[in-house]
Amino acid sequence: MDKPSVIDKEDLNKLIAKLNQQGYKTIGPTIRGEAIVYDRISSIEDLPEGWTDEQGPGHYRIKKRNDKALFGFNVSPHSWKQFLHPPEKKLWTAEKNGSSFKIIPEELENPKFAFIGVRSCELHAIAIQDKVFIQGPHIDSVYQINRKDLFTVAVNCGQAGGTCFCVSMQTGPKVNSEFDLALTEVLEKDKHYFVVETGSDRAQSIIENLDLRTAENQELKIAEEIIDNTAQNMGRFLDTEGIKETLFENLEHPRWEEVANRCLSCANCTMACPTCFCSTVEDVTDITGDHAERWQKWDSCFTMDFTYIHGGHVRNSTKSQYRQWMTHKLASWIDQFDSSGCVGCGRCITWCPVGIDLTEEVAAIRKSDKTKIDNI
């Protein structure tokens, strides 16, 4: 691709307008109910200008910044998966007809999403869900159509969030996977601009239309420094070396019992996680009993019903549920999809009501690794 360009803050509106003109539904960060969430946006007026988020274990607040940054925060409580893998979807309808019935599949519509402000960790999360839903032997048709024309305007993080650990997971802070456009926000005394990298031909043609100037070397250098600075200020660390083997060999570690005493099995971590993909189905009928529907809804491995089979629940303790969640995310995911299921976004830490921190849990297991201790 060509050398990066520079887009001024005000000109971002032209980019949004251009995307809308091409039929994209633009989704980006915006403030709702004291949180920065992802929702429909139509101009930069909708972006959380001058706001940031303060995140910690079991802690989230938005705060005023002392500048006018548009992307001066980290990640929204809910990830982009709410759009690609919606929390609820009707799979089909069935109509009874005597002793028979017919099944009417759902008509699917391409929403043509453009996501604005996608962080590097989140791009990785989308790529991970792609493996689950559209790169295996079976295709999830809803995910497929939502994902089909997705246009991503990524943002390199200008600061490390309070619960971030993307550097450990090699998923950020600099955008390093597939994207259409990647922005780095630069705020200098009286200048406010974005360095823009192009990652696809369709993005290139949009950029050409916006008539942007080429970035100067000095501007590129400043942008790089901002990202480097973010990487260096990452407060959390997760040691991924041999993590699959470590967790599989420590399935009976006492730490699981210990964390279970704190865990409320509320399922927040699985809802907030951008890669958690589990779902259940619900069958509903109307009062006549002639009209039935099948719905798919997000589900969580922290619920009892998740493992119910005739005769009882397989994972009937918080210990076994937490162990499943964490070993799936960090270990068995590697066998299943050839990558970790964790992108280091920190949402599970922020949104855990009791502030359980999986980086701490991994460290605790490593500290008294059963297999290592036996060898001492």
């Binding site: 069935a94 017919k102 759902e106 076994s320 068995s332």
Partner: protein
Amino acid sequence: MDNNAQDPMVPQLYEVTRTIRETHDSFSLHLKSKGDSDIPEFGPGQFNMLYAFGVGEVPISISGRAEKSGNLIHTIRNVGSVTSALNDLKKGHTLGLRGPFGTSWPIEACKKQDVVIIAGGIGLAPLRPAIYALLKQRDQFGEIAILYGVRQPKDLLFTKEFETWRGKYGIQVKVTVDSADREWKGNVGVVTTLIPRVSFDPTHTVAMICGPEIMMKFSILALKQSGMSEKNIFITMERNMKCAVGFCGHCQFGPAFICKDGPVFAYNKIKPFFETRDL
């Protein structure tokens, strides 16, 4: 949408062509496709998701193909709301079906080997297509033994077929029950007690086991004690399942999805997870 034709979550319609009461709590349904498509080819051990209108969907192993019509047979134990609704279906009724899904019993690997089949309760149903696959080319295999354990004599499935298996094909069929009244003249005790009573060469044997996990655990132990190696022991696992295609996450068992990596597994591949409680 063209996509819907292949959407793995949308069932195809099947007609019940015959219902058979197998035991006090189990029944079989013979099913014929209502669409243009032929009855799908399936491997022994594979399963379908059966949908009862308005009630829900459950994974059920295919228990065979009807002799003349080739219709699909499913043998089901009535234990929950969906299986109860399936139990209520009569000849001519319709149900939804998705499948077949999952891995199959290793029939090829049994060639020139002895075969030990161990079934517990309804576990004989998923093994039945494997038994018929062996019978179809009987001369390819050495000794074949079927060891079948149930709780009580009234739980025995497919008893009418045992004599053919024994007489016509020279298969050792042994049955035991956990408890019985005086009417019962057969064996009483757990299924593993039958293992020393059949003839097979443990160093040249493939074993296939289907039943409750506790029963499979002790059967594996007994087979290993007899000299069998873990890699020749195959078991089938059961977990909650909503989609059968790897999307819903419910059936995970360590790194495996039972729906696509199983339900049939070589024991040595899942051993550490099989031995962990509440996994």
